[in-house]
């Protein structure tokens, strides 16, 4: 699928900005008990959802930053069009939620990205907020590089390189998916999400 690079970045930036607003208005104000509430013993709390996203951010944010830095040094021509790759497209689709915020496909998370419910909630939220700030900064910086030829390795197998545009798309979809899940866990049904 083809996208206008700047419009795609605009859209992803807006979504990330809304994750950030939610974190500031909602997550950081939530009582610890509600934030750690597990709908059932096998389901994650909102805190576990955010911690899960943070552990991906821990890998991807430095990887994206390094990729952008490298691309800038090479001073390659920036294409106004971004074409998704088949693997990137597959990952993004896998992460997608339907219009009610329900995942289209169940996936079992990799073990190292599963968090216990015992972490300190305020730290989880603080890291999440820092990561959204950083992500928006990187999305802005990405306007000066080519989303097709700038690449970074994926977390579960760094030798597999994805286009920067694909990485931004699937991370944003992944964030959206688990933020919807977090809202369900914490008993919040705003924005028409269930």
């Amino acid at each position: 699928m083809q996208h206008n690079s700047n419009q795609l970045l605009d859209k992803l930036y807006r979504q990330t900005s809304s994750f950030m607003d939610e974190a500031v208005q909602r997550w950081q104000m939530m009582p610890a008990q509600q934030f750690s509430l597990q709908p059932s013993p096998v389901q994650w709390s909102a805190k576990q959802c955010l911690a899960h996203l943070n552990s991906y951010g821990d890998y991807y944010l430095p990887a994206i930053e390094a990729a952008i830095r490298k691309a800038r040094q090479k001073k390659k021509k920036v294409s106004t069009v971004f074409t998704t790759g088949w693997l990137g497209d597959y990952f993004t689709k896998m992460m997608q939620a339907d219009s009610n915020g329900q995942p289209l496909k169940k996936i079992k998370a990799f073990k190292k990205y599963v968090h216990s419910n015992n972490e300190e909630g305020d730290k989880v939220i603080a890291v999440f907020i820092d990561q959204q700030e950083k992500m928006m900064e990187l999305m802005e910086a990405a306007r000066e590089v080519d989303l097709n030829t700038t690449r970074a390795g994926i977390s579960i197998a760094p030798v597999i390189q994805l286009q920067l545009g694909d990485i931004f798309m699937f991370i944003t979809a992944h964030n959206h998916r688990h933020l919807c899940q977090a809202k369900r866990a914490a008993g919040i049904y705003s924005d028409g999400l269930k």
């Binding site: 900005s17 950030m20 208005q25 603080a126 928006m136």
Partner: protein, 199 residues
Amino acid sequence: MTNMEFSPAIDQLKLFIDGICPLPRAQWTEMAAAWQPFTAKRKTVLTKTGETENYLYFVTEGVQRAFYLHENDKEATIVFTYPFSFSGIADSFLTRRPAAYFLETLTASSFLRTSYVQMQDLMNKYHEVQTLFFKATAFAMAGVLERQIELQCFSAEEKFRILFKRSPHILHLIPHKYLASYLAVDASTFSKLLSTVKI
């Protein structure tokens, strides 16, 4: 920005200035003409350390933060600004000396903005405008000194209570790490206060 959007902002500026020192009509008209709409995205640096502040801002939307960056990355939040009030690095603007700290937006922000040269012209022409700046500076100084006392003498809990008595809405507006930095308490102390202190 269209004129339709511009005029309520100017009305707010007039209300704000009237609260400090009302200007005679002709002078207000010249004052109003000296301001331009200006917008910035989230996390935009408006003024860097070492630059001389050329602008005075009047905030109509969003939150901004002034912060000092110490070597080894330690930073201190000096002040937050939000609607409807002035923003900018006031000391650098008035003294024409390089700024010792940064000014950035924390959320997407809208302002009216004017320049030092324009304000200087009006101050030279009209003593009322000079009085306006004198009074605004006096109020700002009173605020800074009050905060100096709080920072040196008050406990974390007292500082926390004062902040939320003064500006309760900022709890939902600003990432708590910046509020903790503003109060000079660490992040874990801040979240303890948030969960234990009844506001």
